[in-house]
Symmetry: C2
Subunit: 298 residues, 2 copies
Amino acid sequence: METSINKQIQEKTNHIESILASYLPEEKGYQKSVLAAMNYTMNAGGKRIRPMLMEETYLMFGGKDRNLIEPFMAAIEMIHTYSLIHDDLPALDNDDYRRGRKTAHIVYGEALAILAGDGLLNYAFETASKAFRGDSRDITTAKAFQVLASKPGIYGMIGGQTADVVDEDKEISLDELLFIHKNKTSALIECSMMIGAILAGASQEEIHTMEGIAQKIGLAFQIQDDILDITSTQEELGKPVGSDQKNNKNTYVSIKGLTQAMEDVQAYTNSAIEDFDTLPYKNTYLRDLLLYLSGRKN
Amino acid sequence: METSINKQIQEKTNHIESILASYLPEEKGYQKSVLAAMNYTMNAGGKRIRPMLMEETYLMFGGKDRNLIEPFMAAIEMIHTYSLIHDDLPALDNDDYRRGRKTAHIVYGEALAILAGDGLLNYAFETASKAFRGDSRDITTAKAFQVLASKPGIYGMIGGQTADVVDEDKEISLDELLFIHKNKTSALIECSMMIGAILAGASQEEIHTMEGIAQKIGLAFQIQDDILDITSTQEELGKPVGSDQKNNKNTYVSIKGLTQAMEDVQAYTNSAIEDFDTLPYKNTYLRDLLLYLSGRKN
């Protein structure tokens, strides 16, 4: 099954890459340097998990309108990408490389990296706003817009990122660690799955169920990340391990212990899948993908 | 008249300040430091010209719904403010002070200033999205949203800002200078006046007329700025003069000469006011404000 899901994900990733490519700006005009910096980072690869979760949720709830879902798929990936560009800046994580590729500020300089991040965040909303049609369907699109504007923001991703940055070298409580994980990681997954459901016309209750599933999968993913930093080898993980301990960083494992952490990953995952199985809709690939994400090796 | 318009502007500014205050986030939670940095810069003063132009345009076209226009007024000021925070960063203009007050990165550090800018840009869309009602009125609100998402972006303000940053030390053409002025300055004025018109139910043609007026007023404002840098004293202007010449910066005056520049300010202003006077609606204060902006002393 592991080979099969990896192969399936690769195919879905390729499919999403081709959608994303059609939403990137052409590199021309007096502002072309910022457009190049945006595209450089958008083209840096990755599994495109967020637009994938959005599309699969949309399909599961019976969504059929490509022109409605695709602008939102591009938008969520732009928001994810802007957050990487700004996170990598010298004043924040100061990373020169990401996935073996030079980061935007190394290639284009800090000024353009800041502007490219701003550009992607703003262009996400501009792109999604192309889904409006000027008729009554806009009432549903507006609901998706509200989610796109709130989950990545100060009460979502930026909120989690702020707490992570500000309290990086402090002892933090489990409550704050969960706040960081929920907002920095789960928020965009919630955003993706909720928008997929909303645009397909799911009920309020179903949207709420998807939000809960996404939050649990995000938490399982992040706790698993803390576990792998201790139990894995650099070879298995494809990045240095032990960095959390070395940085004296409070993680889920340092607070709750390895055994409990592993049990909690399992509990969050099981709970998410149980909720998923209560839905009167099926998407086997999405179910496998959620299981893969919460228990992934890399 | 000059005393009178200054007094009127002050009263309108006070009125807008009270609206803005009600849309700022409460400084609490694990992310409160970013909220404090956002509010610090939002509370740094200024005339609040953009929300003022938006509200006056809305009123002129007969708009009456405070709960519809106010979220957009707050949003445009948040977008303007985020652009100031990021412009002032060391990698961009590297300004320690703005209007005699320390800039955000001086008070809160660079990491939080970057996040506060991101936070304000994102929160602008979150705030405006509160104007959606879940009924057919959302079709109009969606049109306003499209303008809010496009004018400040890569084909608007960020585009102009990019060209300004990238070509700062180069000889630039009049075409590029106009691109910078139109996008860096006019775009948010266009955004404000178009949204005021759209939300009040103006026709496509009227919205287009307001866009043209706003562009001309923005250009007159910016050319006047170039002129004052040469003809004014530091005392009159309240900021250092001659900085453009000192920095060998290409300005409208260096390209077209002082006499032509002054004539062009007049021509853009006259053309804007002529267009304004063709409208079947009246707002004397808005007309005076446009005249004030294009010919202002400071």
